[in-house]
Symmetry: C2
Subunit: 219 residues, 2 copies
């Protein structure tokens, strides 16, 4: 731990911050990676691993939508409440995202727990994030949430695939949920000469505030 | 299961095939997806999920090297015997690969168990695959297997990062291993109008031969 450094110390959630809280170094870097790949729409596509009730891993591609807010570094994804991953989350909320940026040859691994945000959520920040997630999708994307049960045998009635979903300004349908990744650890691998690997972990200091511990590792 | 079809029936491993065995439909399609993306070298990059000893998922980007052989549909990856994923495999060999092709908007999820192929392996087919894996890497790629312990605190001695590895025609170093994914299930999602989802599972028939069951699912 000789190389460990304290970075991005933040006030506890209850305290009123004097200045805007500093975002952690990994978030600043991730935003820069996204910016440098903005011409490739699939640079927002990440792979999200969870664990099935039988203990085997599951892995699928998801679209990164946004961070919850300026002050909340959790990652937002949209999902269908009827999808199989919801059964996995009832068993374990642990998740790891692998996110590879081909041009900069950077890989982020983001580890944490997934929170489900649905129509019963009462936290204003998350209600807002869910409404924003719904409103910013295209008409054809919103339509998926009124399709038949995902993963069931194919429904061959053409009418069920052309049902219209509520519009962007209407409330989201009940099947529309957010998955919010509460990040606890990040590992950034940069394939260059020489390659580097940086590990960030969210720790609680003796004063009860949390901070991000940064350590340089062998790649 | 009304849409289930039997496809790509194959002779049992012990029988001498009269004609070359038919490859499963998912492999034929995956080879076509690779072919249509051959100008993008990172189209061979996939995300491999495993489970950690504490039950949480792990997820990282790996390079698909090849299938084991014409007759063996298992996927080959190269790895370092000192890497953290080896501790995960000692706990559970279950794995799922997520593989997204951006131009064709196809996602393959390949589920199965990982076999480790190292210097003690005696099966001729796998010894050959390991030698081929070593020989077909660049000098700088082979060098990684003589670097210091991956994931340990960064070694700041420049000399340890410039050690030369044995050449392509020399035997692989002991730390060089293959991870071989024995595929049991494949799910192919194609994002198009209309989107489709096809599930393939490896089943054993009443005659003891195995076959791939194909089913069309709601996306």
């Amino acid at each position: 731990m000789a190389l460990a450094q304290l970075v991005a110390e933040r006030p506890p959630p209850a305290a009123a911050p004097i200045a805007p809280p500093t975002q952690p170094a990994w978030r600043t870097r991730l935003v820069a990676s996204l910016h440098s790949h903005e011409k490739q729409s699939h640079s927002r596509y990440v792979q999200l691993a969870t664990v099935r009730p039988d203990g085997r891993p599951a892995n699928r591609t998801m679209v990164f939508r946004d961070f919850v807010s300026h002050d909340d570094d959790s990652l937002v994804f949209v999902a269908d409440s009827r999808s199989r991953k919801m059964k996995e989350l009832a068993y374990s909320r642990a998740a790891e995202v692998a996110w590879y940026f081909p041009c900069s040859r950077e890989q982020y691994r983001l580890t944490g727990e997934l929170d489900v945000v649905d129509g019963t959520t009462t936290e204003p920040n998350l209600i807002k994030a869910r409404r924003r997630g719904w409103a910013t999708m295209s008409d054809s994307a919103r339509q998926q949430w009124v399709w038949p049960q995902p993963g069931a045998p194919r429904d061959n009635d053409p009418a069920v695939w052309t049902k219209r979903a509520p519009g962007p300004d209407e409330p989201p349908v009940d099947t529309f949920i957010l998955l919010v990744l509460r990040v606890e650890e990040v590992e950034l691998l940069v394939l260059s000469s020489p390659s580097t690997c940086t590990h960030y972990s969210r720790e609680v200091g003796p004063d009860g505030n949390y901070f991000w511990l940064e350590e340089s590792l062998n790649p």
